[in-house]
């Protein structure tokens, strides 16, 4: 959209939204939130940027190749944390063995798994937007 106010204010709002998403990500075990919501909030910042400027501008910040790499990395992280437990002789996705004590292991395990979920959700949202953004809803351009 060619609108001065929207452009300047999006620039101002971009970083606080991403930081809020990361806050929800890392405080998932203290309050409402977690990986899924955090991923959606971070993706919302990118989508806002892509809508107000253009998809090409957003691809400068988040190139499609990096997007796919991070998408796969998130899923890999999730599975990897699970398999560590399996190797060390516990069931799949058991966090107790990750730290020195049971508590610390739980904390680190939940943090890592949630981070994987957040990374995947965020990048799936962005790649969905990249794929469908230029879909025209049967309306002609009238400007």
């Amino acid at each position: 959209m060619d609108n001065l106010i929207l452009k300047v204010c999006t620039k101002v709002l971009f970083t606080p939204i991403i930081l809020f998403g990361l806050y929800v990500q890392f405080h998932g075990d203290f309050g409402p939130g977690g990986g899924f919501q955090a991923g959606v909030i971070v993706a919302a910042a990118f989508i806002l940027y892509a809508m107000v400027f253009s998809v090409e501008d957003c691809k400068v910040i988040m190139p499609p190749k990096l997007n796919f790499f991070l998408l796969a990395l998130g899923a890999f992280l999730y599975g990897f944390v699970g398999i560590i437990g399996l190797i060390l002789g516990d069931p799949y996705l058991s966090y107790d063995v990750l730290g020195t004590t049971k508590e610390a292991g739980q904390h680190i395990g939940i943090l890592l798994v949630e981070f994987g979920v957040g990374l995947t959700v965020c990048n799936v949202m962005i790649s969905l937007f990249y794929s469908f953004a230029n879909f025209n809803f049967g309306k002609k351009n009238n400007d």
Binding site: M1, L6, G31
Partner: protein, 86 residues
């Protein structure tokens, strides 16, 4: 006290809903939807205090955010007919 505020917010929600339904132009409807969003943001945090769980405030920040981005998306869709560049 919080309950009274919640009831008043619901009354104004219903009043704005009337505007959302009778509409006339699309812009009226977008405006009414945006105002309903603000009312809901306030209602979520007041409800959090009413239930004695103020951590609901995180949710209302998220709601305010999604309300803004959703309004921008709908406006862009009406402007260009697409969310992308074309």
């Amino acid at each position: 006290m919080f309950l009274a505020v919640l009831i008043a917010l619901s009354v104004s929600f219903l009043l704005i809903l009337v505007r959302l339904i009778i509409g006339k132009t699309t812009y009226d409807r977008i405006l009414a939807a945006n105002s309903i969003g603000t009312i809901i943001v306030l209602a979520i945090s007041v409800h959090g205090f009413y239930m004695g769980r103020p951590e609901f405030i995180d949710i209302s920040i998220v709601y305010a955010l999604i309300n803004f981005i959703g309004t921008v998306a709908v406006l862009k869709l009406f402007d260009k007919g697409t969310l992308g560049d074309k």
